[in-house]
Each structure stands twice: as C-alpha cells, then as structure tokens.
C-alpha cells in the first residue's frame, strides 16, 4: 500500500518506507524504522515541487496533497487561487486604467478596428483582382501577335492618283492618294443616288488619303483599282462599280467598301488597325 495521503504533515515522514498503516487480523502493526540518511544540501532558491514544498501552498487540512505510485498524484488548490494574468502590455491605452469604465471608449475602439479591417479588405480585394487579372491576361494575345494586327505605311511613297495595295490581316488594304478634283467630285455626290448613303466626309479622316479594305461587299472578290464607270474600283466577278470614295454605285454589292480604323501619327505615316 504505497499510496498515501499526507493528511498529517508532521507525521508523514514516519509513515514512509515499508510499514503497515492498517493492522490486519494476522498482521500486527509494524512501526516504520526511520533510517537516517546523508544530509543533502538543497538549493532553497531553486523552486522544486515536493510534498514538503507544495505542502506550504496547500490548505492545511483535508486531503489536499496526494502522492502515489499507482494512483493519481496532485495538489488541489481553490479556484479563488487562480490569478488572471495582467494583460496591460496588450491593452489599448484607453483601457489601461482599471478604475475607468470601458463603455466610454467602446465606440471609438470599435470604429478604429472596423475602419482598419474595412480598408484592409478593400485593398485586399483590389490586390486580389490585380493579381488574378494579371495571371489571366497572360493568356491573351502576345505582343508580336498584336503587332501583326497593325500596319504602318509611309504615305510619301504613294504618288497622287495612285492606289497602293497592302496585305493586312490577310486581306488587301487599298490606300489611294486622291487628287483635289477627285475629292471635289466625291463630295458633291447626292445621298439619294447612293445605295448605301454615306458622305465622303464620313469615310475619310484626311480627304487626301482614302483607305478602305479591298474586299467586295457582294461576295468577297478583290476589286480592280482605277477601273469602272465612276473613277474608282470595279469588281470583275459580278460587275460591282465603286467610286473614288469606295461607295457602291452600280452592281450587285449592297454596301460600301469597309473603312478600317486608322490614325496619322504624323504627316507622312498612317497606322491602320
């Protein structure tokens, strides 16, 4: 019976070692023999947990300290001994004074926390959106492919009255250097006679340069320049006549020649596309 409850602190040393604490019918009470051992120097500054040192912390009465080999050992304290640690290092300044009610600063503390959280959330959402769109945009067309979609033309190489054809996006691109007479004629055309009424002004940025896609709007053949009855283009496939503004005048084609997007970065160059 090696488990013992240190009920009587003073007598406990005498109850140690092999001794029968309870006399049975066949066993007499064998008093323990106290063997004097070597005195050990104990460093009192170093705290250590023994029955003796714990005894000082436990209630003086009741089985509060129990030590055993084959049963639970422990020291029981009261719940009122539990000390809530001092969290002053973590407190906000308004809450450091324990004599001040926390209700007064409650609104401002919450407002600050929510503001910081809200701002962080907004910034976070935008960051996420940016990162996501950056990753997704890697799947879009690369620069060399995009570059192929534009064409830059030196306009000084096109003499007046001449129509130059360029390959652009797999289609023929007509750039015509129009003379002043041609421009005047085209601008004077009445809307009523046109199948697809469009004024010349609406089809050119600079009237000197007429830029259209050379694909017949009927069935897609390439019209011949400086041909036809109207001083413009003539499509040999089915006989569509276009004027110098690329508008359909005679023949089966329903619409005018398409005008692509272009801009003049300077006098001498045009970028189409």
């Amino acid at each position: 019976m090696l488990s013992l409850a240190a009920r009587s602190g003073g007598f406990s040393p005498y109850l140690q070692a092999t001794s029968y604490a309870v006399a049975g019918p066949l066993k007499a009470l064998i008093p323990p023999v106290v063997v004097k051992g070597d005195t050990m120097l104990v460093d009192t500054k170093k705290p250590f947990l023994t029955r003796e040192s714990l005894n000082g912390q436990s209630p003086k009465c009741g089985p509060a300290v129990s030590v055993s080999i084959n049963a639970k050992a422990g020291v029981r304290f009261a719940h009122t001994d539990i000390k809530v640690p001092d969290f002053s290092d973590y407190r906000r300044p308004e809450l450091l004074d324990p004599k001040k009610s926390s209700q007064e600063s409650s609104e401002s503390r919450k407002a600050f926390s929510y503001l910081v959280t809200g701002a962080t959330a907004v910034v976070g959402v935008y960051t996420a959106k940016t990162v996501a769109s950056q990753f997704i945009s890697t799947m879009s067309a690369s620069a060399d492919v995009l570059a192929m979609s534009k064409i830059e033309v030196k306009l000084s190489e096109i003499p007046e009255g001449k129509n130059m054809t360029f390959k652009w996006r797999g289609k023929p691109l007509f750039i015509r250097h129009r003379s002043a007479k041609e421009i005047a004629v085209e601008e004077a055309v009445e809307m009523a006679v046109l199948r697809d009424p469009q004024h010349d002004k609406d089809r050119v940025t600079n009237p000197k340069w007429m830029i259209v896609i050379g694909v017949c709007t009927h069935l897609g053949c390439v019209p011949i320049s400086n041909a036809g009855d109207y001083g413009g283009y003539y499509c040999p496939c089915h006989g569509s006549h276009y004027d110098a503004s690329g508008r359909i005048r005679k023949g089966p084609a329903p619409l005018n020649l398409e005008v692509p997007f272009y801009e003049f970065p300077d006098e001498d160059t045009v970028i189409v596309g």
């Binding site: 436990s58 003086k60 029981r76 719940h79 009122t80 969290f87 324990p98 009610s101 919450k110």
Partner: protein, 478 residues
C-alpha cells in the same frame, strides 16, 4: 324517479341554507377576494427612518406572528484589496463565535432558547446578519444583532480554528461548479479591479489573515451611514426605532483620517477563461456582457429580456411546448442540461448573461443558439414575447416575497441600493411600460456587437474560439 331527485335536491339546498356557510352559498366562491391590482396597493408601506448617526431603519409590518430582523451593511468583497480579499467572508464566520457580552456558548443558548435562526451572508457589495424569530422576541433579537455586529469577540483561538473551517468551505465550494464558473466569470470580466475578487478569497489569505486585518476591516466599513436595520413581520416601526436608538446609537459614522472608502468604477474586459478538465462529466459555461447598474432605468427592460429567454432544466416537463424559444430548442435538440439567463447588478455596473450546463459535444450548438437568442432580443422580439415575459416577471417578483425573510432581505438591499424600498406597485408600473421596441433598443445598447466575457469549466474543448463567439454578437443580415 324525477320527483325523488327533486326532493333530495331541495333537502340539500335547505340544509346548506341552514348551515349558512358563506363560502358554499357565495356565487364568487371560486374567485380571489381581491384583484391583483388591489393586492399590489394593499401591501403595507415600508417605513424608513434614520438615526442621528446615519443608520437607517426600515420595516414592513406584515402582520405575521414571526419576524425577520437584520442588519444590512454596504460592504463586501468589492471593498477589499488583493491582500485582504476574503476578510468579509472570514468576518462572517467569526461573527457567531461570541461577543464581548455573550461568549459563544451563551450566544448560542440565547438564540436557541428563543427558537430563532441566526444567519448571515456576504456578497460582493453587501453583507447581512439577520435573525428569524417570533415577533414578540424582537427586542432580544435586536440586542443580539447589535452585539454580533458591534462587539464581536474575535479571539485568536477562534480565528485559528475558523481558518480550518474556511479552508474546508473553500474545498467544498469547488464541488459547486456553478459557483466556480460564475466566480471565474467575475474574475475575468472585471480583471484588475476589485469586482474580480471572489467573496471567499484565495486560500493563502484564509491562512494568513490576522485579527488586526479583521479589526481594520470592521473599523473601515461597519459605519452607521452604510448600515440598514431592516425588519419584516409582526413588527411595529416605532418599536424598532426605539430598539435601534437603544442599541445602535453608538455605531460610529466617522472614518479614521477621513478616509472614506469610495467605490471607483470597475473596468469590464471582454475576455475568457477556460478551466478544462476532461474528466468532469458536464461542462459549465457562462457568457456575459456588461449590463446595467442596479439603479439604472434600463434594469426593467433587461429583466423583461431575461424573462423572454427564461431558464430551463432537463427535468422540465414542458418539452417542446415551453414558451422560451431557447428552452424549446434545448428540449427538442437536447442542447443542454440546464440554462438560465441572469443579470447581476452592482452599484455602477452589472453582468448580463446566460449560464448553461451541457455535455461536452453540445457546447458549440448551445453557445450558438444562446447567442442567437440574444440577437433575436436585439432585432426581432415580438409583442407576444414581451407580454409573456412581463407576466412571468411580475409573477416571479411577487412570488419571491413569500415570507418575512425574503421581504426583509428585499428591504435591506433596496435601501442600500436605492435609498428607499421600491414597492411592488412601482415595479409593476415600470414593467407595464416596457414595449418590444424598448426591449430591442435596450438590448442593442448592451448586447449588440459588444465584447463578451466567457468562463468555462469542465470538458470544454468544443467551446468555440473567442473570436468566433465575438463574431456571433452581431448579424451581418442587419
């Protein structure tokens, strides 16, 4: 056949008329003789007088043959420091160990021979010593009380002996897990302030408090302006005042060095404390926010709000027909073994909370539905909820005052808290004023989006993290 029945009937009627028993003949014999409103107004008035030294005397003459008379003192564990925490409790133990005039045996004999009960209690802000006795023994009772409070013997031998008793009580109270849980709730909610002190005090203080500490405590706190001599029962106010003049005129009203103890406000900290022990069978959890002080006008709507949540025990027979929604859920989904909504009101602060006992796998659900009940109070409480709660509250207020001792306790505490006794009719009127909008507004003020204090004892692994419990104090849908 019919004729014989008629003859029997008329004979009985004549016999009853001869007996002239008013009860049997009265047409209203199933009904009460006074209505509720009449009974409220019929309550005898509580009379209040003050002595020259500031000691107040209050009594209600109820006409019983017995009476309860006692001294309610405005001091408790809140007035203690960390070093002397537990003094008020120790003092309560020492009080009945004999006085200068009556040694212990003599005191006991006096009390027993009257057939009286002498008891005391200590709380965080109040201490009470009271005696329950026959109305005719009032003079003796007041004399004994005055002896106990003013000239307690406080012998060293008794102090040493009582240490053991106090320590045993400390050990015993560990078994009452409700007290442990609520003590820990105070310890964490009011950390760093005097309200965090438990009434019992730490075991170290029980071992080291000296006679000097007790004497100092009495000298600083047992002062006449902070004392109320309250009585209820078959007592007349004039007799009581006379006895008080005779025995209590000597109570001091001056403080040494003019050091009047002033209660400073106590900071509430939203925090938690978990005492996890998986070997315990049930988990005891309490969650609370800072509530209203005892004299705040919000106290009545908060009491109504607590009545809406109500209380529950697994042994309630109502099952899914209970009126409180949380109780219905607890019963149907087996959420908990018991819960109660509580409001501990102190002089300038309070704790409004829910305490529940449940097994270790239902803690999360119970916490969710408890906070859900709070959110409902703040947002969607209905007219019928409030009506039901008002009736329940009125019933409980009236029903608690069912004897001279509860009435006397009521008087003592009211005079200490409010300076006067608040009559039942006034409580009734204030309760009637409460509307659902008022409940919603008041609950929003104290509960919505506030940091709670949580304490948990037992197998509490499933209790959610504090941040999650804090997040459940508001609803995104609003």
């Amino acid at each position: 056949m019919a004729a014989s029945v008629c003859r029997v009937g008329s004979t009985v009627g004549r016999a009853l008329a001869k007996a002239r028993s008013p009860i049997l003949l009265s047409l209203r014999r199933g009904q009460a003789t006074v209505s509720y409103a009449q009974s409220l107004l019929g309550v005898p008035e509580t009379r209040l007088t003050a002595l020259d030294n500031g000691l107040r005397i209050a009594s209600e003459e109820t006409g019983h043959n017995t009476c309860t008379v006692g001294l309610w003192i405005g001091c408790g564990s809140r007035y203690e420091t960390e070093k002397n925490n537990g003094t008020a409790f120790f003092m309560e133990h020492m009080a009945f160990k004999g006085t200068k005039k009556f040694p212990q045996a003599a005191l006991e004999k006096q009390v027993e021979s009257m057939g009286a009960h002498l008891s005391a209690y200590t709380s965080r802000e109040h201490t009470a010593y009271y005696m329950k006795t026959l109305a005719k023994d009032l003079p003796k009772a007041v004399e004994l009380l005055s002896e106990v409070v003013q000239s307690c013997a406080l012998s060293e031998a008794d102090i040493e002996q009582q240490r053991d008793v106090v320590l045993k009580e400390l050990a015993e109270v560990e078994g009452s897990l409700q007290d442990v849980c609520l003590d820990l709730l105070h310890a964490t909610a009011y950390q760093g302030t005097p309200l965090s002190h438990s009434v019992l005090g730490p075991s170290q203080n029980a071992r080291t408090l000296s006679r000097q500490d007790l004497v100092e405590f009495i000298n600083s706190h047992y002062k006449a302006p902070r004392m109320v001599l309250a009585a209820a029962g078959g007592v007349t106010h004039e007799e009581l005042v006379g006895l008080a003049k005779q025995h209590f005129s000597g109570v001091s009203f001056e403080y040494e060095n003019d050091a009047v103890p002033v209660l400073s406000p106590c900071r509430f900290t939203g925090s938690e404390i978990r005492m996890r022990d998986d070997d315990m069978p049930l988990a005891h959890v309490a969650i609370a926010v800072e509530g209203a002080s005892a004299d705040s006008p919000d106290i009545v709507p908060l009491m109504v709000a607590n009545s809406i949540i109500g209380s529950y025990d697994i042994t309630f027979g109502g099952g899914k027909h209970l009126s409180s929604r949380l109780a219905r859920l607890s019963s149907e989904d087996r959420l908990c073994h018991s819960f109660q909504a509580f409001h501990s009101a102190y002089s300038d602060t309070g704790l409004l909370g829910i305490y529940f006992v449940t097994d270790k796998l239902s803690i999360e659900d119970m916490m969710h539905w408890s906070q859900n009940a709070w959110m409902n109070l703040c947002t969607t409480v209905t007219e019928s909820d409030v009506e039901r709660a008002k009736n329940a509250l009125k019933t409980s207020l009236v029903g608690q005052l069912n004897g001279t001792t509860p009435i006397c306790d009521d008087i003592g505490r009211h005079v200490l808290n409010f300076g006067r006794r608040i009559p039942l009719a006034e409580w009734d009127a204030r309760i009637d004023e409460v509307t659902p909008k008022m409940v919603r507004d008041v609950c929003t003020k104290y509960i919505y989006d506030k940091c709670p204090a949580v304490s948990a004892v037992g197998p509490v692994e499933q209790l959610p993290d504090y941040n999650r419990m804090r997040s459940a104090m508001y609803w995104l849908r609003f």
